[in-house]
Symmetry: C2
Subunit: 369 residues, 2 copies
Amino acid sequence: MGVGQEDRSAAVRAEHLRKGSNTSMRATFMHGPGDVRVEDVPDPRVERPTDAVVRVVLACVCGSDLHPYRSAATTDEARPMGHEFLGVVEDTGSEVTGLERGDFVVSPFAFADNTCPICLDGFHTACPRGGWYGAGGVGGAQAEAVRVPQADGTLVKVPGDVDPALLPSLLALTDVYLTGHHAARMGRVGPGKTVTVIGDGAVGLSAVLASRRMGAERIILMGHHTSRTDLGREWGATDVVAERGEEGIAKVVELTGGEGSPVVLEAVGLMPAYEQAYGVVRPGGVISRVGVPQYELAPVGFGSLFGKNAGLTGGPAPVRAYLEQAVDDVLRGLVDPGRVFDAEVGLDQVADAYRRMDSRSNLKVVVRP
Amino acid sequence: MGVGQEDRSAAVRAEHLRKGSNTSMRATFMHGPGDVRVEDVPDPRVERPTDAVVRVVLACVCGSDLHPYRSAATTDEARPMGHEFLGVVEDTGSEVTGLERGDFVVSPFAFADNTCPICLDGFHTACPRGGWYGAGGVGGAQAEAVRVPQADGTLVKVPGDVDPALLPSLLALTDVYLTGHHAARMGRVGPGKTVTVIGDGAVGLSAVLASRRMGAERIILMGHHTSRTDLGREWGATDVVAERGEEGIAKVVELTGGEGSPVVLEAVGLMPAYEQAYGVVRPGGVISRVGVPQYELAPVGFGSLFGKNAGLTGGPAPVRAYLEQAVDDVLRGLVDPGRVFDAEVGLDQVADAYRRMDSRSNLKVVVRP
């Protein structure tokens, strides 16, 4: 990394800390389906001794943000949006020992203490002291700044000075890439394995990249947006199945010698994707879900999972468990998950980012406050 | 094994082969709920070159036989019953090479070719050439004799002469014990693990025994029939939770330090047991089901499995995959799964066996043709 880059990096920090002197900031709220607004709100402050406040350098819009965008009930209570961000620490609570003002940090999409037995098991998204951005009095990350509870457990410092060209890939670690990685890990992807990935969104493509990194030999990507599946091929998909439903299932079964796919990574969260998943899974195989399910009840009986001893696994990715290693991989140039970003907007244009992703004009949009 | 035992063993075989000279036999059929009858039917014969006909020495009634006993539709078509048996080979088809008349054999509850890729993976119950006793033109095992398709792949010869005292334990291998074993195996039970078993039927108790054999350190048995949970304790249960529903869930969560059970073996198949399972499972843990689900739809979304990254696995046990090792374990006296049998009837009293098991007067009843 050259001197010029160090200078740029230092300049980025200084600029973001300077912004922190404001007493109000701009933040994104959803008021109802399709109704995303950027509004002035008070600057977040340290409320508990374990909090930090982070000035946001980059945020983005998630596929899961589109679920309420399409179907949220209109309520009086506006919902703070955004859970993926990189930023600079602006303030820390009295019990925060591992961070200081000026640190450049990456946050997982959920906060956690990183010390309880559940976190030590590697399931940070179920941490009893953890939670979600944009809920329970914690703001969203599509904003100029955000309060981070359990800051010592949650935030990972990026060592040294960061090449700005790597920022999109670091941003992708906060959710989509490590969600794809979690899908692959829970599906026990490994060398020589055949894997079917359902969904060509940012998470599905990330699951392709992660599966290839774990040594999968054959990666069948189910998706029908050519511009996306083309990136999937670059990242390691050996086959693309554009057909959906029964036709898509038949194609995957045919591609796997009539037996089905031993590992299925479901990166959508809608019932048709789940149905495809149990349709293509091989007897004794596993379906690993990371698309947030937009259903509670699903088929699991003799005719779907049980009869063929198919397993179901997955859940919200414990990004924190994988984050340090992944930051290192990005800094060393071993993965480039930031390629899922194909547009950037300023914070005031965030509603446009939602529109573009909803219409599939863009895959994933960076928001720069 | 003494000479007397060898004589008895030889006598058993001769007697069973002599019976084979009849041209009709007695077999069990279910005509509707609670309507079990023993009827005269033609002796089974070799129909395909891969078939064998086995004269039944011992059969039994399964917990899963009670599902139709309680709720089967009354139809004109009587349903042949029974899928657990030991017997003596009476006849073999022209392509059967590994068996001959007089061999004493144990059958898994499902037949399979044991050579296809799915069987080689160890999931025999999904073998494309496999199937179930009592369906598709194959008779049931609560009968004097049964035709066994894919005989070379299905039947396991018991080497040497068999001590009659071991017959119940060999009979338990045909389904319940190895179904409990499968639950534990799919749940990745291992040394030091904490396991919760839901259900104190023969399969649940077998799951306790199998978990202990695999080194589980703590085994919490959820069941409220003291005579059964007592056997569970003998077999390795360290805690018994008699409470059900929310109360039972709270008890198990309390017993596991507030975090839940990393492994849950569900050996019932009814929705309340499934609900208990996702209630007690620890984040990142696994629910392994082997009770045949009497439901198709079940909660799997954010509020049940997904939110805590809980896995769901299991299915019909591929008994054949485990049978040779288990026969050896029984013959060496390492396990005594036959203790689940607490009564024996003759074939003509089979309806009584159903009644006794349905009323829970007996745990599991041997049927001796």
